[in-house]
């Protein structure tokens, strides 16, 4: 049926004038893929679906949301009230808001798995270095977007989270204070901050969409890696459609079941996706007892917190990202997949555990015990990147197959 549509006269007429049909064929139908891709390879398509869902739900929320910290008649703020109005009065507003909030968490969950997949199968190696770097850029971009978005409900966590994180900017030498005022539009987080964050929360996803499209187009130039990590021969290459369209759609189905379970039964994600304190309106005179970022930001936050010096903490967090960017050059082994690299495989799994531990620590209030655990995990995080340039010298890799 799809073939019939793409071969029709109308499609031909459009294609002669725009090349649209051949883009569709190139990217969604004929795209040659190795036949051994497992379900770890579905997370790219799932992430794309979430991006679309976030943009659609976000546009609908923006129709009823009001970015104003001005006090409302009820004594809260116009922004907080407008979110509550979405939850109570707007038809199905609760559903759209919860889809958006759970969608943000789902996006990070899926992207973290997508990246872990790339690291495990060595997908960042030549010729896919730039693809990997774009991916890290997308992650940082997403973190900026959720940071802007989390301020919008103007709850206690919105306000104090933004206060703490923007203060990080203030620690930058020489230009910090100037930059801080530039971001906040005032001496503290306030109405001007809320207005500009709303504008940026709208703009950045559009830019993200463009970068994501570029990411997909770049993938289709260098082609997908595979779990074995060796180039597939001609006879083991299959077209994307129908083989992976169907496989990805099945993966999307499984994802949507889990997604809906959260949206309908646990929309706040047990206080992880929408923190309980954020149902209290922002109060600039009272800090909540325990401020922590949403779960997907906690590993990076914990690295920042582990360093007992404000400026060095920020530098540590920045370095954590820089290490990810440099991954394709830090790893010098010619073998891609961790399946054939026992040492890399063990180190990588320890690295993954360190990120989970960092996330756990970052989510909880500081205790002497957690400080030690957090610092240890930070050291493990960076040790991975420090060891990476050397392990190929002594690592005895398993014999690689000729073909997939």
């Amino acid at each position: 049926m799809i073939d019939k549509m793409l071969d029709s006269k109308v499609a031909g007429w459009v294609d002669d004038r725009t090349h649209l049909i051949r883009y569709i064929r190139f990217h969604l139908i004929d795209y040659p893929t190795p036949k051994n891709l497992n379900y770890w390879y579905a997370f790219g398509s799932i992430a794309l679906l979430i991006l679309v869902l976030q943009i659609v739900t976000g546009v609908f929320l923006a129709m009823d949301y009001k970015p104003s910290a001005i006090l409302s008649g009820g004594g809260f703020s116009v922004a907080f009230d407008s979110v509550e109005r979405i939850m109570r009065d707007v038809n199905d507003g609760w559903l759209i808001r919860y889809m958006h909030a759970v969608g943000a968490s789902a996006f990070f969950f899926v992207i973290y798995l997508h990246m872990a997949r790339g690291m495990y199968y060595g997908s960042y190696k030549k010729p896919r270095e730039f693809l990997w770097m774009m991916g890290v850029f997308i992650l940082i971009f997403m973190q900026a977007i959720v940071f802007f978005g989390y301020l919008l409900p103007w709850g206690q966590m919105s306000f104090w989270g933004a206060t703490v994180i923007t203060n990080i900017i203030g620690a930058i030498p020489f230009v910090g204070d100037w930059l801080l005022q530039l971001v906040r539009g005032g001496f503290s987080v306030g109405d001007p901050t809320l207005n500009r964050f709303f504008a940026l929360h709208f703009l950045f996803p559009v830019l993200l969409g463009i970068v994501v499209l570029w990411h997909v187009m770049a993938l289709h130039v260098v082609h997908s890696n595979n779990p074995v990590g060796v180039e597939a021969s001609e006879k083991n290459i299959i077209p994307f459609h129908p083989y992976y369209t169907v496989k990805d759609l099945f993966g999307i189905g499984v994802f949507l079941i889990i997604f809906c379970w959260f949206v309908f039964y646990h929309p706040t994600g047990f206080g992880l996706m929408i923190e309980t304190d954020n149902f209290n309106p922002a109060n600039s005179m009272r800090t909540p007892a325990d401020i922590s970022p949403v779960w997907y930001l906690t590993p990076w936050y914990e690295i920042l917190r582990s360093v007992p010096n404000k400026l060095l903490g920020i530098a540590g967090m920045a370095l954590a990202y820089v290490c990810l960017f440099l991954l394709p050059w830090l790893d010098r082994s010619p073998v891609r997949s961790a399946r054939y690299r026992p040492v890399y495989r063990s180190l990588l799994l320890i690295f993954f555990v360190s990120i989970v531990v960092l996330g756990y620590c970052g989510h909880h209030p500081v205790t002497p015990m957690l400080t030690v655990v957090g610092r240890t995990a930070s050291v493990i995080y960076f040790s991975f990147f420090v060891l990476l340039p050397f392990i190929h010298k002594f690592e005895k890799t398993k014999p690689l197959p000729e073909d997939i």
Partner: protein
């Protein structure tokens, strides 16, 4: 079942289920575009008609749109008769919006109000939604030749030149298609109406 038939069946069933699911997912978004509960709740307006002096026109806001409340004098009510040939729909039959349940007698179809002296009508021109001006004086004295020579007094919409008489009935040969719409209202007290 043969393999081919079986595959076709599965293909159709799966895409069908997918299409139904997608349509179901569109529904909440369509609902979200409809007016919200609080917007609908704010859709009634109370007004005391005794505050309008005889011959005076007041404009009341209802659902964010103006509603005319005109206190007609006995002469004004008398003048409603005798110019039916100038009107497109003198007995308000054309569409449901120009009628109301309480319009039972011919006289009510002419006065177009529950209590004849108090005319309550939508102030939105049925052409493209401007608010017509009010001029009760008959003839061209007040408005000149923008109204016809035998002008009985009424409403004139300056946007595109539509004319209505003092019952909001539209004239022939103007762009507006229908009489001014009747808004839903009732008397909840001797002189207090509830619009909506």
């Amino acid at each position: 079942m043969k393999d081919k038939t079986r595959r076709d069946f599965l293909y159709t069933a799966a895409s069908g289920a997918g299409a139904v699911g997608t349509l179901a997912a569109v529904e909440p978004f369509m609902r979200a575009l409809q007016p919200a509960a609080d917007t609908l709740a704010a859709s009634t307006t109370e007004f005391n008609v005794s505050t309008v002096a005889p011959g005076e026109l007041k404009t009341v806001a209802w659902r964010g749109q103006p509603v005319f409340v005109l206190h007609r004098t006995p002469e004004m009510l008398k003048d409603l008769h005798g110019h039916d040939d100038l009107l497109r729909d003198p007995m308000s039959h054309a569409v449901p919006e120009v009628q109301a349940e309480w319009m039972k007698t011919d006289e009510q179809r002419v006065t177009r109000s529950i209590k004849p002296e108090y005319l309550v009508l939508s102030a939105v021109c049925t052409h493209l939604g401007c608010i017509p001006g009010f001029e009760p004086t008959p003839g061209q004295e007040a408005w000149g030749n923008i109204v016809p020579p035998d002008w009985p007094g009424g409403f004139h919409c300056a946007c595109h030149g539509s004319n209505y008489d003092l019952s909001g009935r539209v004239f022939n040969h103007v762009p507006a298609p229908h009489n001014l719409h009747v808004v839903p209202y009732k008397y909840i007290h001797d002189t207090t109406i509830l619009i909506g």
